[in-house]
Symmetry: C2
Subunit: 224 residues, 2 copies
């Protein structure tokens, strides 16, 4: 008899890639330490040498996917933003579990925060004021990100970023700029959710009013 599976030793990357494939095939709810272990031909406890716990495993899955997002190749903020949104949409369609995985966390992973910074950078570098960029990102919501920035459970991402601003400013300049700007408007140093919400709502109502006036049949086209 031959040994069919040449048991390469497990490592963090193999565990995470297997978990991604598992969730792609059966969904996040079906992803279980025991099931994943069985898939890898190993006893459940073997996974815990490579992954702290299930929360850590899911974090690794998120980072693996988000780190693979493409950097836009076009020039011009609209074209680049468009590329990013469509790319994010594509990734979410490949990994339908991604959105709820990201939203299940208390705070964004470092990789997700880096992505948020890159997107903010596109708009800030285009010359848009920092507070407007902040609003714009909320308005794009989960269409941009493939998830909802408001959805983090702790909702404390912005203040915690603001606290460590000096250390983070170099690595995540745009995210820090937004957090600091938003914090300067409130006593607590946190993002003013109500003001932010009101802005987005008005922005959308205004856009609908324009649709109404013009009787557009197929919507505004910016490119092509």
């Amino acid at each position: 008899m031959y040994t069919v599976s040449t048991r390469r030793p497990l490592n963090r990357d193999r565990v995470i890639q297997a978990a991604v494939a598992y969730a792609d095939a059966r969904g996040l709810d079906e992803l279980t330490m025991r099931g994943l272990a069985a898939e890898l031909g190993v006893v459940p406890m073997a996974l815990y040498k490579h992954v702290a716990d299930k929360y850590d495993l899911v974090g690794g899955m998120i980072d693996a996917v988000v780190a693979s997002y493409r950097t836009p190749t076009e020039t011009g903020w609209q074209a680049r933003l468009r590329e990013r949104v469509l790319n994010a949409r594509e990734r979410v369609s490949w990994h339908p579990w991604l959105r709820s995985a990201i939203e299940s966390r208390d705070a964004p992973t470092a990789t997700v925060l880096g992505y948020q910074n890159a997107v903010a950078g596109e708009l800030i570098e285009s010359g848009l004021a920092v507070d407007l960029v902040h609003h714009a990102l909320h308005a794009l919501g989960h269409r941009l990100w493939g998830f909802s920035p408001e959805a983090f459970r702790g909702a404390a991402a912005a203040p915690s970023v603001a606290e460590q601003a000096t250390q983070l400013a170099e690595r995540l300049p745009y995210v820090v700029a937004i957090a600091v700007d938003a914090g300067s408007r409130t006593r607590s140093g946190a993002c003013d959710d109500d003001a932010e919400f009101a802005f987005t709502l008005d922005l959308l109502l205004d856009a609908f009013a324009r649709l109404h006036e013009r009787g557009w049949e197929s919507g505004p086209r910016l490119s092509g």
Copy 2:
């Protein structure tokens, strides 16, 4: 000795109200049939006489909250839509578990579908074309609903509605109108997600371009 808790017999409503209070206090993840039973001073299996299973319990919780949404009192589609959005936001803040509860389902509950119909009605009755209303609802996304209409797992809500259109048309005229209109544009009779996405993206990019041009400092104000 007195009997301290006058054990009123359980009923569906008491079970659901207790579950809502439980989730409000500890979150949806902590809501467990066993824990809820303990809270009610009853053995876990007693709950199953009033609720088919946990899925049914959560459905009941959703319906209880959404059924309590206020009908707007203002006149004019913008003011009414605004009222609805702010009311939905308020409810989600009271019941932080609501959004993920709704999104965890394969399809909207009847009560949620009725709410969607009411909101669609505001815009359709304002004179906006049905396909534009469809787009507008997607653009409002979870800010309007307190959840994301795209997020239903089956994503098959629209086609299934279209199939039963004749029976449903009376009860849910606006939702049916949107489903039928969207279905008429595609072979499958399903909503054309890509076209819908492109429209929303363009709408938002256009709104940002206007912000850019005008250098708005505090956003557009429509009311007050």
